[in-house]
């Protein structure tokens, strides 16, 4: 086939793709008969009532000397691991504020950290394009550093996020700037599956975050700079199960809803959205009121749900931390305006395993509980 004929085929295929996307959009619009807020308000729901003292900052974890980029809670003990621009991971006892471990990293440009399900190991990754695993029970070397127990190499871009598969100490998923996600066997250091890449229906830009369903650990979602979220099945790496459109900018954060069938996402377009995993429907948009003091719309950096799903916490680039009533889509509290709130961008947040506490991390070098 000549180049000219190929070009004609290319143009025809592009037109078909665009037409199909438009049809899909219209078909979804027909099914969009309501949203969560309209439905629940019609059912008589009113917003959760928060007073100024219902959610207070009871701990400020100080110790990092650089911006905090990521944090994670242990599933059972009240420990938190945080990653910072200072090139360290710190493990904190959230109840006492004490530091139990401080791990100096080989590559200081860390972007993500996570606890293993048993709380005995932590994993992290960043601009070194590798995921490092540390066993907290290991003996420190003579400099007082915990040696790395495994390095997972293979990504061709930075590691933006990593998560352990629930209840599996040996399975870890990473997301990367090379547009792929990878499932690893931590014991052998081998890649088990690669999700995305050039040919399969993967993301077409950097992948920035991922979240694994608690009720069906074979399913995970990833958010990307291509403005989409994609659903993957661990057993089928050849293609994404579904692609969720809606955001108008990079999707910085994704998190599954507690029922494991819905998920929330946060984006550079300043909104959070709730999607239904199985149908692909966008159920709700959580958009902040425009603030005349903002030259640009603050971007969403992080999202998390309370244990019941009634509250959604979202961190923003201007230091706000909104508590949304998920059902009525209203802001019931802004933690960024409370006494002792962070003085910089909220970069990460997460709920404790029992759902009783929220930890936020910020560019002001602190974490707050």
């Amino acid at each position: 086939m000549s180049v000219a004929e190929l070009k004609e085929k290319h143009a025809a295929a592009t037109a078909t793709v665009n037409s199909l996307r438009e049809r899909l959009k219209q078909r979804r619009q027909l099914l969009l008969d309501t949203d969560v807020a309209t439905y629940t308000k019609n059912q008589g729901r009113s917003p959760v009532n928060f007073s100024a003292t219902d959610l207070v900052c009871c701990r400020t974890l100080q110790g990092h000397t650089g911006k905090v980029y990521a944090l994670d809670w242990t599933p059972e003990k009240n420990w938190i691991v945080s990653a910072s621009q200072d090139g360290r991971l710190i493990v904190w006892n959230a109840l006492t504020s004490q530091k139990t471990h401080a791990i100096k990293l080989l590559c200081p440009w860390v972007m993500t950290c996570v606890f293993a399900p048993n709380g005995q190991s932590v994993a992290c990754g960043g601009l070194d394009s590798a995921c490092s695993v540390f066993n907290l029970s290991s003996q420190s070397d003579r400099d007082g550093n915990i040696p790395v127990s495994r390095i997972l190499t293979g990504h061709k871009g930075y590691i933006s996020c990593c998560q352990y598969v629930p209840d599996q100490e040996t399975r870890l998923i990473t997301s990367s700037g090379d547009q792929t996600c990878v499932l690893w066997d931590v014991t052998t250091g081998q890649r088990i599956s690669i999700f995305g890449g050039e040919f399969p229906s993967g993301h077409t830009a950097d992948v920035l975050s991922l979240s694994i369903s608690s009720t069906n650990p074979n399913m995970f979602v990833s958010g990307s700079c291509d403005s989409t979220v994609r659903l993957w099945d661990l057993r089928i790496a050849s293609r994404a199960v579904r692609t969720y459109h809606g955001h108008d900018g990079d999707v910085n954060a994704v998190r599954f809803f507690p029922d494991g069938l819905r998920f929330g996402s946060g984006s550079d377009d300043g909104t959070c959205r709730l999607f239904d995993m199985r149908t692909g429907h966008q159920l709700q948009v959580y958009a902040r009121q425009p603030d005349r003091n903002d030259d640009e719309i603050p971007t969403v950096t992080s999202v998390a749900f309370s244990i019941s799903g009634r509250l959604m916490f979202s961190g923003y680039s201007n230091g706000d931390c909104y508590v949304w009533d998920t059902l009525v889509a209203e802001v019931v509290q802004n933690l960024g305006t409370l006494q002792n709130s962070h003085e910089g961008r909220i970069s990460c947040l997460g709920l404790s395993g029992d759902g009783s506490a929220l930890c936020t991390g910020s560019y002001d070098k602190n974490l707050k509980v």
Binding site: H10, L127, I307, S308, G309
Partner: protein
Amino acid sequence: MGATDVTPPCPKSPPKYPDLCGRRRLQLEVQILNREIGFLEEELHSLEGVQPVSRCCKEVNEFIGTKPDPIIPVNKKRHGSCRMWRWIRSKICCCVSWICCLEKPTNCSCPQSKNCECCSCECSCDSCSYPNCTCCNSNCCTCLEVSRCPCCRSFCNCKPNCSCMNCKQNCSCINCCSSNCNISCCRCRPSCSTHCGSCFSESCCSCMRCSCTKPQCFSGAFSCFWPFSCCCKSNCGKSLCCRSCCVLRTPSCPECSCGCVWSCPTCGDICRCIKRNNPCCISGCFC
């Protein structure tokens, strides 16, 4: 014998090879598009019979509330005995003070009234005497005395709108207290200088208020070729501003060339290659 004119050697031009790499790239793209068409048709087909959004909303509404949530405040309900006495009182025209005073709600922290009249015995926050609620701490406007002054909560206007009068010059107020509060209540953002370098100072504003110029990259690297003129915007190295936005620029490929050489030589300590956006380079063709 005269010198023979010797024609200097003239190397032949290399043969013109067919533009295979460009064809291959086009073929690959057509394959990807055809695959995408298949996925989209499948998705359209799967929407037949899919439940509307309202059903999903119903499921969400039903799910929430099935689990207790420790982070959500519990509504304080009146004690049953209080309700009964209020009902009785509402039926009796004259207050018999000793009846009302028999049962005081245990969660009432209002001081016991000297004259124990029915209404004050109930001790609802609207009617009880409460201490003056000031905006407490000199640094802030939240009420700290809540545990001893439940009424205060409803009367203290914590963090009213900012008048900005006490903020520094050139600051924009995000969330100030009223003008009689201490200046430290104000969360002011000083205006940034035009250079990105000022964005890293702890005392400076967030990068999004900076009108940044392209960063000075270390020698050997190119300045950011990203469409945005300012590395401080989000697409340049997600969590890291400006400084790490230095990207080693990949060469642009003419459409029908043999492709380009993808090279990302090892970056220095400061900058790393973060994003690739040139399709030629992704395919990694070599001439």
